[in-house]
């Protein structure tokens, strides 16, 4: 596939060459076949620094087609630097349609959030992963962690949770909360808040994880069990918020804290900007939303 003929073909469609895409697709297929298993792949250098989503971008570039509709979020927001740059990148190199509406997207590339709106069949969620190995900070040797995955020796993961309870009285891990996929592999769900962990369980969408610097791809196919690790007497719990979103009044969503002044003023707003807007368009109002009509552009979302 080449870029449209009326422009000079500067890039192959979706930036990566076809052989590279084929290699990444093979890795993705293997990852889907073994849910939660980290498949090594020959990660390429991308025109962005490591840590900006080079893994996610390569996965997206390998699966995107001309008919796809792409949505990119960064911590839930469509309007932050990382999301805007990656969206612009794919507009430029693949000429695909982009959207900010979760329901309209066929591919959602995300940095550290899962959209509030439940994903549907046929959608693909691509995660940008900094460190794919959940055991890394407990066992620094890669040879040893691979062996532990192979032999299903996951006692060490509970040592971390034990330490949390011993020090804080409860499991204080709030992000990158380890999960067990389909009863076999322990997986790092990338640094998403643990609030999002239940959304991964039996999700109807395909979930792909790409770690560019660490050269690993892993996946959770649709309708797969994803269980958060816990203790019998300290079961897994998600974060709870005392107040609703200050703009849309939404409850049961993940909220960001925004500092308003240096007098201790703060507000809590939806981290998922698209969800917040749709609620405001539907007439929902939080206590700081103002009286005028619903904001028309995402720049007023105010998550920064």
């Amino acid at each position: 596939m080449n870029a449209p003929s009326d422009t000079i073909a500067q890039y192959n469609f979706a930036y990566l060459d076809e052989q590279t895409k084929r290699m990444i697709r093979r890795a993705i297929l293997k990852a889907i076949a073994i849910p939660g298993y980290q498949v090594p792949f020959a990660s390429r250098e991308m025109p962005m620094p490591y840590g900006w989503g080079t893994g996610g971008v390569q996965v997206t570039a390998s699966i995107i087609g001309p008919d796809d509709v792409l949505k990119v979020i960064d911590q839930g927001a469509d309007d932050t630097t990382n999301a805007v740059s990656i969206r612009a990148f794919f507009q430029k190199v693949a000429h695909v349609a982009v959207t900010t509406h979760t329901a309209d997207a066929t591919i959602v590339q995300t940095r550290h959030r899962i959209p509030e709106e439940p994903l549907k069949e046929g959608q693909v969620l691509v995660y940008q992963v900094p460190i794919p190995e959940p055991l890394r900070f407990l066992e620094p040797r890669e040879t040893e962690t691979r062996k532990m995955h192979a032999l299903e020796e996951y006692g060490l993961m509970h040592v971390k949770l034990y330490e949390d309870i011993a020090q804080h009285g409860h499991i204080a891990t709030t992000f990158a909360y380890p999960v067990k996929v389909e009863g076999r592999y322990v997986m790092d769900p990338s640094p998403t808040p643990k609030f999002d962990n239940p959304k991964m369980h039996m999700s109807r969408a395909l979930q792909l994880f790409g770690a560019g610097r660490e050269k690993r791809i892993y996946a959770v196919p649709p309708h797969t069990r994803v269980e958060s690790l816990d203790f019998e007497d300290h079961p897994f719990e998600v974060q709870r918020f005392d107040e609703p979103c200050a703009l849309c009044g939404g409850m049961d969503v993940y909220l960001d804290e925004v500092i308003l002044d240096d007098q201790g003023g703060r507000m809590f707003v939806c981290s998922d900007t698209d969800h917040c807007e749709e609620r405001r368009d539907a007439g929902h109002r939080g206590h700081l939303a103002g009286e005028d009509g619903p904001p028309s552009s995402i720049s007023e979302g105010g998550t920064q």
Partner: protein, 258 residues
């Protein structure tokens, strides 16, 4: 006690290239028995211990272990998964340097609880109760349970390592110079503790040491090694009181008298 040994070692040899680590070692270890392996530095004690505990592959020979189902299994024919399972449930390994056997960056309680979690215990309260119990048995104060081993003295670390190994109720414990690097009064306490635990739990143990006093206090039987070979073996008191091989005579006569 049954009339079958726990561990059956037959002609175990380990060569490092042309150099001998240990050669043609055979013995039986019986349930509840403590065997000391003594000899000078470089005599192959630790090589032998590592071969027996499957941390090192011997060049030739076989080691059969009687599992809880009373069947003998050749350790080197087991899958790695089975061996690792054995090492963290039915066996213990006490390193000379506690830092090698402990996780220095997690608390004492988690160190003791790790083996329980590794075999599938998922109840925090029970794990913590077991950890508290074991810290008490190795004479570590209960209020140190959330401290990291980094904050412990050498003797405490060694005792913590022992608790960590014994929490799953192993039947066989390997010890590599368990009292090395400790001062004599701490050594005496640790030996006292070890002797009590071994007796109370009916453990079998293989203790590698260069210190004949440790062998005398802990072990029932000993083998004396020199240059990778066994030069003498027998009941500890017999070997120490009536050494027969010239090397053993030399070794016994070189103990410092105070």
């Amino acid at each position: 006690m049954t009339d079958e040994p726990l561990l059956r070692v037959r002609s175990v040899s380990k060569f490092y290239g042309n150099r001998i680590g240990c050669e043609d070692i055979s013995f039986d270890l019986w349930p509840g028995e403590v065997l000391a392996v003594v000899g000078e530095s470089g005599s192959g004690k630790t090589t032998l211990l590592n071969c027996l505990s499957t941390r090192l592959m011997p060049t030739s020979g076989s080691v059969a272990y009687r599992m809880r189902d009373n069947a003998f299994h050749d350790l080197y024919r087991m899958s790695e998964a089975e061996r690792r399972m054995l090492m963290r449930t039915d066996w213990g390994f006490v390193h000379q340097n506690p830092a090698d056997g402990l996780r220095m960056t997690v608390s004492a309680g988690a160190n003791v609880g790790e083996r329980l979690m590794a075999v599938g215990d998922r109840h925090y309260g029970r794990i913590r109760a077991a950890a508290t119990d074991w810290l008490g048995r190795v004479e570590i104060a209960e209020d140190r349970i959330d401290d990291q081993p980094r904050a412990f003295s050498g003797g405490m670390r060694q005792r913590l390592q022992i608790a960590r190994n014994l929490v799953t109720g192993p039947r066989l414990v390997f010890m590599d110079e368990p009292t090395g690097g400790l001062d004599v009064s701490v050594q005496a306490r640790l030996l006292d503790l070890l002797r009590g635990l071994v007796h109370e739990l009916g453990l079998s143990a293989i203790v590698v040491t260069h210190d004949l006093a440790v062998a005398r206090l802990l072990s029932h039987r000993m083998i004396v090694m020199k240059d990778g070979h066994v030069v003498e073996s027998g009941l500890t008191d017999r070997v120490l009181d009536d050494p027969q091989a010239p090397y053993t005579q030399l070794l016994v006569s070189s103990i410092l008298q105070v």
